[in-house]
């Protein structure tokens, strides 16, 4: 029993990272209909940035993280303005191709700026907490807490603010939102800024828990899209549930079945869910 609880705890930590990645993807997809493949690479850019600030420049982690989040918002806005806005009214395939090209470009920029070596963000969080026999390393605890805070903050923003209402209005019916006086030109900018900020937070978590290296962002975005499909396209609660389900499934598969096939088993679970609920766990039926 203790082992099961420990494995679930392990899974919740990695699942929290998946949740943040998937939240960013689902908001962009749900509201703008764009499959933003470069999201993982941009997230890792944020992780690299924190690493450089902390390890090379001696900046405090607590200062480096907000700086990276703000830079991430700016980068997200720029991506929307320069890459996706020009094809906003064009065929969907254009945005799709831009997303692929952007992924390669951002990966290349990361490689040029930060090199090919893997990097681990030095946090100094070495303590280990034990609760009823279940151990939780300090970094994992902070990852879970930070993800929870970000999810609550995002939900509050989307549900409780005027801008959030405008975002939801655009997601539901863009034309009606225009008629109601919503400034639809600014909404994509805000969505991308918010989405990229969440991605950067996930990148920092990956860099602190594990490591950032070329290719990690691409792997994360694949997991993010799996969560998106599992939870239901465009559904924020679906992304949260889906991320946790994927993380816990991976941990249980590696712990109780075979670590060699943990990714396969996680995706098998996803397929099984989709067989019974094609719209995903919390996606709306069409």
């Amino acid at each position: 029993m203790l082992e099961l609880v420990q494995q679930i705890t392990n899974g919740v930590a990695i699942g929290s990272v998946y949740v943040l990645i998937a939240l960013g993807l689902t908001t962009v997809f749900g509201i703008l209909g764009i499959a933003h493949f470069a999201h993982g690479s941009v997230s890792m850019f944020g992780g690299y940035l924190v690493y450089v600030l902390v390890a090379s420049q001696g900046v405090s982690l607590w200062l480096a993280i907000p700086v990276a989040l703000i830079v991430g918002m700016g980068v997200g806005g720029l991506i929307e303005f320069l890459a996706y806005r020009p094809v906003r009214n064009a065929n969907h395939i254009n945005a799709f191709i831009i997303a692929l090209g952007l992924t390669m470009m951002v990966e290349g920029i990361n490689l040029q700026l930060f090199g090919a070596d893997q990097v681990v963000i030095p946090t100094g969080f070495d303590r280990v907490f034990e609760i009823a026999g279940v151990t939780i390393p300090e970094t994992r605890l902070y990852v879970i807490l930070a993800a929870t805070v970000l999810v609550i903050a995002m939900t509050a923003f989307v549900e409780g603010t005027k801008t959030g209402q405008a975002i939801r209005a655009v997601a539901q019916n863009r034309d009606a939102a225009i008629l109601m006086g919503v400034n639809v030109r600014s909404i994509p900018l805000i969505v991308f800024a918010m989405s990229t900020m969440l991605g950067v937070a996930a990148g920092v978590m990956v860099g602190s828990l594990f490591a950032i290296a070329p290719g990690v962002g691409e792997a994360m975005v694949v997991k993010g899209f799996a969560v998106l499909i599992l939870g239901g396209l465009g559904s924020i609660p679906g992304a949260i549930i889906g991320g946790l389900v994927l993380g816990v499934t991976e941990a249980l598969a590696a712990g109780f079945l075979s670590s060699a096939y943990k990714d396969v088993i996680a995706f098998v679970v996803m397929i099984v869910v989709l067989l019974f609920r094609p719209q995903g766990l919390l996606g709306g039926a069409k």
Partner: protein, 406 residues
Amino acid sequence: MKRRSTIGAGLAAAVLAASTSLAGAAEKDLVVGVSDALTGPAAVYGVPQARAVELAAEEVNAAGGIRLGEDTYKITVLSYDDKANPTEASNSVRKLIDRDGARFLLGFCCSGATGAVASFIQNEDAVMLVGNAAERSITTRGIDNLVRTRPPADYTGAAAGTFVASKGHKRVAVIGALETSFYAMYVDAFEREFVKGGGEIVTREAFGLKDRDMSPQLTKIRALEPDALLVVGYVEPAAFVYRQSVELGLDVPRYGFTSGSEEQFLRVASSEQMEGVWDLRPTELTLQSTGETGRAYHENFTARFGVQPSPSSPYAYDQLYALRDAILKAGTVEDAAAVAKALRELPVPKEAVMQYIPIDGRMFDGNGQAYTTNGAFQWQDGAWVFVQELPSVAEDYSRFLSSIDG
């Protein structure tokens, strides 16, 4: 007038003779190719190896190059990134041989990529010197133009099994990159000797080379209550295992087979998390275990590249000195077969950093395999400390290797 013309003719003849002599003693370029993992997960081994070859080439050139008769050869090193990938390695070597004209191929940190090149190198007019790649079959295929400076993984694994059994452990859990054959081979040899000592392997948990979260496997291991842990894999995932084992409170002695430097481990785990970890591997470079040449190598490498050399990097450094001696012995850089033959007749070069055990007075045995001693190193206060040699009989293993067909 006649006298002047005679003197003039004499001077002209002397100048002509001197210039002819100078033309004969030309400085020539000797291209040495390096194929190694310069990016990706295996770069922790490949980059230091490529640098080690570069350093050795600079030293040989600074000492006047390789003199063959009236010719002096200065070494030019061309390095290609094979990403430890078999296809990339085959392409790199093809480029080195076909386009760059390289006859001598060094580096080769990783077994998969090395095995792919070994499969066709016998048909080439070239000599292949393998470094850190530890898969046994590389030197059991009877390839005349291939030698290897690092001993095979099972040679070390057997010694490690005996050592861990001698520590009184009975239940060892294994976690490692077990889909990589030479790591599996190490564990197999470890298990054979460990079982002889009365122990058992309670589980074998695998991780991929790119995996960084091993907490599910470690949680499973913790529930099995082993009395020791054996970690086999590349430095980075192994470092995550050591870090996460502490985070999960897995408080048992930890043994490993990784060959990582202090700097490489400390990028992932803290010194406290590493404290007490054993690395059971060939007696590679550590300042405590090495001689004067090793200390000089460490100093020169650090000064040249700004980072410390990895423990396994001298396998590649020693390759270049073995090649130099073989070229001198063969008296040619054109005849690759003669150089390959000379390699197998060489004593250990005096500049070699690793502590080789010569077989019949030669650095490489009939299989083209070199042997070092094996050692037990322990992480103590932030550094690997050489504790003791592990029991390893190179002659016996050499005979065993000769008995394997393919």
